[in-house]
Symmetry: C2
């Protein structure tokens, strides 16, 4: 999309039943159409998560990346912590724009296993605020882990602008303070390390609660006001994308609301399709 928000399209994920089947059957047309539709709807990256392990994962991500880049010039996000699968993805990746590694964490073993590869790849990278201490609880936990991880990455040679911090969202239903903690963490991380992007796997916030789409939209609106400038979402969710356009305009990131007004003229803001 035209707006400043960097949208990582999450649809091609092997934990979704229809995608899982398409991967297993090498259903090229279906995967290609999911990539194309997300690109048309405003995705900036096409995430590819094979949802498999071991040798299968390596073959599957290679096939997914090959299939996706046949229909779009958008950069691809390689959604796996497995460096062998990452290597396979890079081998077949030919698009010009730098891809995304999704994701690295501050867990020592994962960090040790991925850091050199990440630096050498010159790719973008999602940096999850997750350490060996487990799920972060407070805003401070998130900020401390994130800032240390960012400093480790930039110290090793990754550009700040290539890092997409994910502050880690726990379900609101299990921790009523999680949304506040994440919003505070987003604002503090952007204040302390203004070069980096902040992204979010959003939908976890509403896990186990009714009307999940409503909660996800309201939360993305709040997170954008706090400084979120990227999100891992389904770009085919029209209400979510409309919310992002409106939130960008309100955040003053859309000069004279021109993107918002254009999106309205193109019929993207009304939920009647």
């Amino acid at each position: 999309m035209i707006a400043a928000m960097i949208v990582i399209g999450e649809l091609i994920n092997g934990t979704r039943k229809r995608i899982k089947r398409a991967i297993a059957e090498r259903g090229e047309a279906y995967i290609a159409s999911r990539a194309q539709k997300q690109a048309e709807a405003g995705a900036d990256f096409i995430d590819c998560n094979p949802g498999t392990i071991g040798e299968d994962e390596i073959k599957d991500i290679r096939w997914l990346v090959t299939t996706v880049q046949e229909v779009t010039d958008l950069p691809v996000s390689f959604d796996t912590p497995n460096t062998s699968a990452l290597e396979a993805a890079f081998e077949v990746y030919t698009n010009e724009a730098a891809p995304m590694i999704n994701s690295i964490t501050a867990e020592q073993e994962r960090l040790d296993g991925m850091l050199d590869f990440t630096v050498a790849s010159r790719a973008n990278v999602v940096a999850l605020a997750l350490s060996d201490a487990g799920m972060p609880a407070s805003a401070d936990d998130r900020v401390q882990t994130a800032v240390e991880l960012v400093d480790t990455l930039t110290g090793a040679g990754v550009a700040g602008g290539s890092i997409f911090v994910d502050p880690v969202i726990a379900p609101l239903g299990t921790d009523p303070k999680t949304a506040c903690a994440v919003l505070e963490a987003i604002a503090t991380i952007k204040a302390e390390r203004p070069d980096v992007h902040v992204t979010c796997g959003l939908s976890n916030i509403s896990f186990g609660l009714p009307e999940r789409g409503l909660l996800n939209r309201v939360f993305v609106a709040q997170a954008i006001a706090a400084g979120l400038d990227s999100a891992i979402v389904d770009p085919l969710d029209r209400e979510m994308m409309a919310t992002i356009y409106a939130a960008e305009a309100l955040a003053g990131r859309d000069e004279w609301c021109m993107n918002y007004i254009t999106a309205s003229r193109e019929g993207k803001l009304s939920t009647q399709n």
Copy 2:
């Protein structure tokens, strides 16, 4: 509504064509039904704005308040800066809960004219962050005017909890920084004077832009995260009220999301009526 949010129902406003006619024709049934519907939908105050001036305003607000309190025990908000009309409203007001004066400002003439009356009335009061310097531009303008006005009111004997600061919203289309300035002002006012409520006449934000409901909803979500705990809205707008329920839950003001879950069970969160 059960949630912490204090909703001032804005529907009975003489600038609306249908209401204007009902006031002119003394259409009691219509006004009564508008009051009742807003109460059922979760209003905490029923605003009454005759939309007339002079002697008419005095007669009209007297009639509106009489009509409204016949069908609801909710407190009424007297929406006029005219002290004669306010006096007339208080004369006929018999509900137990303290009403709202909507609104006082820091404009010297208006403040001088209304302060003693406001203190003596022991009513709640909307305190607009508007001074003789005109429309506030920055967050600081709003905070300074609001805090001075709050201190004048509390110094004269108004309880902090009876004051509803309105940070004054300019249309986003004429000032792209207005939403950010208002959000910052809300957070600072709540930090500096934690006793007072912060409310908002929301819909001004979207004036002149398309899909106004979308912008209004996204903005209320952001404002609630910043500390807004009251809003002047149409409680019959189901999408707006659903957004408020979700934003309250995300703000951690709805323990274990019980209000949110109850609202969902009652069918209030789905937009299919």
